[in-house]
Symmetry: C2
Subunit: 351 residues, 2 copies
């Protein structure tokens, strides 16, 4: 597994804690195998592309959430150490596949060349193959989901696919909208990013036997964590190191997607400062615009003048803390601690 | 409803026949309403695009197959006149939505401007919006499918999505492969076109209570009809009238997709004739290549020298007749007659 969510700061060396760490790690490997097995085809041109996708597994945020949420739910009945049930592994694979499909299509839309330090599918095999492969992966997610024997889960996954696409369409609609306000931004991010993360936590609880109220609480945890995750992504697109992040950066700016620091900055800056920033944002990447390396540094300087990077960091931290409060009802357990740690990790990550 | 499958040559004026015609027509209107209701969003940028898709409903081949297959199955129990059950309407809407999603994405891949005599989504709103909208529609199909209360249907729809994408990927792999043989062509068409048509007939039978053997027979009917349908599409791409067909033509040639007449021709032609055809195929559309209006006429002439248009017509006719034989087990009923008529109509259509 490539670079799973960093849970290494989890220091509970008790037998219970070690068992849960082991269970999560094993389940994640099993998720990767299940994704590969579900995508496998007897047709070589299909299989080659699916094999390439195996390098796309990254932080495994959604699968880890499904698994930990399930273990935390099980802990309410005194059963917290795993093994992770097979249904949770399949559900985690479904959530990961929906995410993979969106990555493949996002890279087409963003004309991105690099993903997880490897070539994107569009770069490797062209836009056409990437569009079709994304559909293939999305269909595979739904096919696997239907084997879980719970129609409500399948319907939720289908509806979540709609929600995240709706979020992306609204984002596209607001492209180059330099007066986008923070409220609209949060609504958009809730849909395009937080919806699947929230559903991963809620459904992980459901397959572990959690009731509707418990699912809703873990869903709220996932939603807050998801918004914080996107804000950190926004920050990395501006201030991250491409070699560390492992994907094309500056794409938000290049594609006219306003990110939280920029939205805050444009609302807070003096007319003169605002003017300079707008010039930077409208300049093509090749001519020193904010999409390129030099342009990103210039943009950073502008953003610092209004404290907009700090503002975005603060919002992300607050959301991570609020997310942790959603866990308060759960009994103390290694899984709960690790969920809490995920919330911290989401906003402190450098990739 | 735009231009549904032409069943007007159905001349059974008996009360039973008239009732079935009425039931199919009403069910198709209901299918369109269900598709619209499933896609509807409270977000204006999403809704505008979904509204545009309402113009995409065409021959309604898949919904009509679901409905007629269900009615024909019901006739085995002496109940053939409808009304069409609600589950069949939802299933028909699911099959139509999967089809709509592939149309939206195909138009991106083909850079097509016209579909059903209206602008394509990519033309209207750009490739990015079209890619996301296709994902939205596909997700909506799966969400609706999950409400049917039959996990086997949901899994089949998911797997069919995979199959048709796999077919498209193999087609892409063989692009510009001028030695593609007929056998590979049929395998490819079975996947990319016939799979969803076959499944529409088989699952229409299933929701009407048909057993596995009956589903398989109607599935076989749909598969043969589906291959014949694609061959007729191939013929229209070369020999059709764009004003009548209502979509961009010459796209197969332009995109290097070999169609049955061309495959037959390249295998049958003398080296000299073959050379001329290859030159025509490799020439860009703008410079008189086979993708353009003049080029299409030149290609037609070439294909006539080897009787390749006739060959493709003959294969399509044979498949349509074989499809009809798959209906032999069904008791005589208006629905069975209309299925039979669909097989004829698929190969005689001019759009």
């Amino acid at each position: 597994m490539a670079r799973m969510m960093d849970l290494s700061s989890y220091t509970d060396a008790s037998p219970g804690g070690a068992a849960v760490i082991l269970a999560v790690g094993q389940a994640c490997s099993e998720v990767e195998r299940r994704v590969s097995a579900t995508l496998a085809s007897d047709l070589p041109p299909v299989n080659t592309l699916c094999k390439h996708l195996e390098q796309y597994h990254g932080k495994m945020v959604r699968p880890v959430l499904v698994i930990l949420s399930g273990l935390a739910t099980a802990s309410t009945n005194g059963n917290e150490k795993g093994p992770v049930p097979d249904a949770a592994v399949s559900l985690a694979a479904v959530c990961e596949m929906v995410h993979l499909a969106t990555l493949v299509h996002d890279d087409v839309l963003d004309e991105a060349d690099i993903r997880r330090k490897t070539q994107t599918v569009n770069r490797l095999a062209g836009n056409e193959a990437a569009v079709i492969l994304g559909d293939y992966v999305l269909s595979a997610a739904f096919a696997l989901c239907s084997t879980l024997g719970d129609a409500a889960i399948a319907e939720t996954i289908g509806r979540t696919g709609m929600t995240l696409c709706a979020g992306e369409l609204v984002q596209l609609h607001h492209r180059q909208n330099l007066s986008l306000d923070e409220r609209t931004y949060y609504e958009l991010v809730k849909r395009k990013t937080a919806s699947l993360i929230s559903v991963s936590a809620a459904l992980g609880c459901r397959v572990a036997g959690g009731d509707a109220a418990q699912q809703a609480r873990l869903g709220a945890f996932g939603e807050k964590l998801g918004i914080a995750f996107q804000i950190q992504d926004d920050l990395l697109d501006i201030a991250g190191d491409q070699r560390v992040v492992g994907k094309s950066l500056g794409k938000d700016m290049e594609k006219g997607k306003l990110t939280l620091p920029v939205i805050h900055h444009l609302a807070a800056a003096s007319p003169a400062v605002r003017g300079r920033t707008l010039a930077l944002l409208s300049e093509p990447t090749q001519r020193g615009g904010a999409g390129g390396q030099g342009g990103r540094a210039d943009l950073m300087e502008q953003l610092e003048t209004t404290g907009s990077i700090d503002h975005a960091r603060r919002v992300a931290d607050t959301l991570a803390n609020e997310a942790k409060l959603e866990l308060a009802w759960l009994p103390e357990s290694p899984a709960r601690q690790m969920l809490s740690l995920m919330a911290d990790s989401v906003v402190s990550r450098a990739f």
